[in-house]
């Protein structure tokens, strides 16, 4: 494990993105989105993924100089065509369209097709905060998740992020996969050779398993809830809503047709749409009530929940976004730790492209 400063990793990512053909402004925003994952502790979605994006570009599945554009719109909605661009770049473009719509119509809702993996959902939802808007960010993803009662993988981990501004308190920021556990958490257990808790994974025959290799061995992640008795049909419904809003509304691929993120797996030869899909929302809080009023009640909400009496053995009740914010503060000072295989992967990548790591 080695530790790197934000600036080091930002510069490397930025330079790599330039090297594969991104315009300067895209290299900046792409690096910013990717690094925000490392800063917030979602290590699986940060620089560890950079070589994955590069391999997709090498296969011609990512266009690093895309013509991203609105292809349909109403006063409060738009569909954006990402032109096979990096999701890291397409998503902020689309979120800005949502914010622009909201500034005029009260709310803005943008569905995106023809995109790729967009990093952490929370980066995009949080773009709304400085405008005193609530931000919403959803995306579908390659199929790794089995619906309740299904042996087949039909959904991605399809995250939901909602960011809500407060006044004196830091914002409320939920950012979560619609599965019991994110794939990144499973990979950590794999590396340690440890079992997974019941309710995270099923094996290739569709039976519940505690093997942390279950997904790698042809099984699937389970929807939030784990099994029917614990509400997995709700996690399945949430993942489905994310899929439909992101892809059936926009004309992207949905369900099992979503193209894989890994370059060694080929996309379905008979796609039902273009690329992967995202969905963004922005709601001006003063489209409902004066922003000052709203934000002071959010402060009250947050303070009340934070001061609730904790259960035995727990220190305090957290507000969604607290753990990521704390880690971000810590890493600002102490740097970003990267696992040895990630360091090796990045330095090989740098060597291959003549970019200093």
């Amino acid at each position: 494990m080695n530790t790197f400063s934000y600036e080091q990793l930002y510069k490397f990512t930025h330079d790599m993105l330039l090297k594969i053909g991104c315009p300067e402004v895209h290299a900046q925003i792409g690096a910013d989105v990717l690094l925000s994952a490392d800063m917030r502790g979602v290590d699986s979605h940060g620089v560890a993924r950079l070589s994955g994006y590069v391999r997709l570009w090498e296969k011609g599945r990512i266009n690093t100089n895309p013509n991203i554009k609105i292809v349909h719109e109403t006063p409060s909605t738009a569909v954006v065509d990402g032109d096979k661009g990096l999701g890291l770049v397409v998503a902020p473009y689309a979120m800005n369209v949502a914010i622009e719509k909201a500034s005029k119509a009260g709310t803005g809702w943008v569905s995106v097709k023809n995109s790729n993996h967009y990093g952490i959902a929370g980066y995009h939802s949080m773009m709304a905060l400085e405008h005193d808007m609530i931000g919403i960010s959803l995306t579908n993803a390659s199929p790794l998740v089995s619906p309740t009662f299904s042996k087949e993988r039909l959904l991605g981990t399809n995250p939901i992020s909602v960011a809500i501004p407060a006044d004196q308190e830091p914002p409320f920021v939920a950012d979560m996969a619609t599965t019991t556990a994110a794939n990144g958490k499973l990979e950590i257990l794999q590396r340690k050779g440890q079992d997974a808790p019941e309710g995270w994974v099923q094996d290739k025959d569709g039976n519940s398993t505690t093997s942390s290799n279950g997904v790698k061995d042809g099984g699937a992640l389970l929807p939030l809830g784990g099994d029917r008795e614990h509400g997995s049909h709700k996690g399945y419904a949430l993942g489905s809503i994310v899929d439909i809003f992101s892809a059936v509304l926009s004309g992207a691929n949905y369900g099992p047709w979503v193209p894989p993120f890994v370059a060694f797996l080929e996309p379905d030869p008979n796609p039902v749409g273009e690329g992967i899909g995202h969905f963004f929302g922005a709601m001006r809080v003063d489209a409902f009530r004066p922003a000052g009023e709203f934000k002071s009640h959010m402060d009250n909400w947050i303070k009340r929940f934070r001061s609730a009496e904790p259960t035995p053995g727990n220190e305090k009740v957290l507000i969604p976004g607290d753990p990521e914010r704390e880690l971000e503060e810590y890493r600002k000072t102490n740097g970003i730790p990267l696992l040895d295989p990630v360091v090796k992967d990045l330095s090989e990548l740098g060597q291959r492209f003549g970019v200093k790591f």
Copy 2:
């Protein structure tokens, strides 16, 4: 257990609502909303609740002849003041505002204050379907749920419903509490003297319990996920988002301040808003892509998921809304079964008010 026809129960509910002062049109819609719960098998939210509404009216906490109105609006948003009306009546009013906004601006979003319990969430989201719109319906509710790590009850079961139209296939209709299990399911186990599965309930000290009396004895329902390891922080975040959209946006009571549904518990003497809150959304699918295209892809989505290979011991993969729709078909022909205590309660109610049951 006795079985009643839809018409019998509709007429009784309608006549009771007239008797307590509802105008004719409110009695009709109130009865329609309440009976839709019985038809769809959400028995805890149907006529079984009628006497509860009446008791709230007797206490002066429900206004049966409300002046429901828009108090703030933009092209795509509104805040509705329910004037202490029955949620059963306020909610369809607000959903119609959302639909009207969507017909002009592409989408419509309505937050509601000063309302009461609105029946099943799915009734209101499904109102969008006939307009080729996606419908969204959220509400907060009296605090019965403890956030992750909290001993205190701070949230209601805060349901989320999303209804999405298809073409030849029946619509996708998710309607779910953001807890592992709805309170109604726990009550069924209580009546049978059976334990609850792990992950549904915590006791008054904040420890996990399998006692189905756990909530009655001062404990709490658990957010979807059950515990931290199984993602309860996600269920907590979802319930919180429902609470904030429904109440902090509108100016209703939120969190632990939401007034109780039962008349024998008094509302907080220092409320932070007015009544309970709801949130509704309507999105015209042709604000994104042609409706025919969208709906035919929804058919494809539904068929693909429905035909997935099932896990061992399960017959097939269901689409959200399938179980409720099947029950509705069955009850249309075979009537609505009511438990003996519910029959007794309703006939006493009828006697007390001189309405034939």
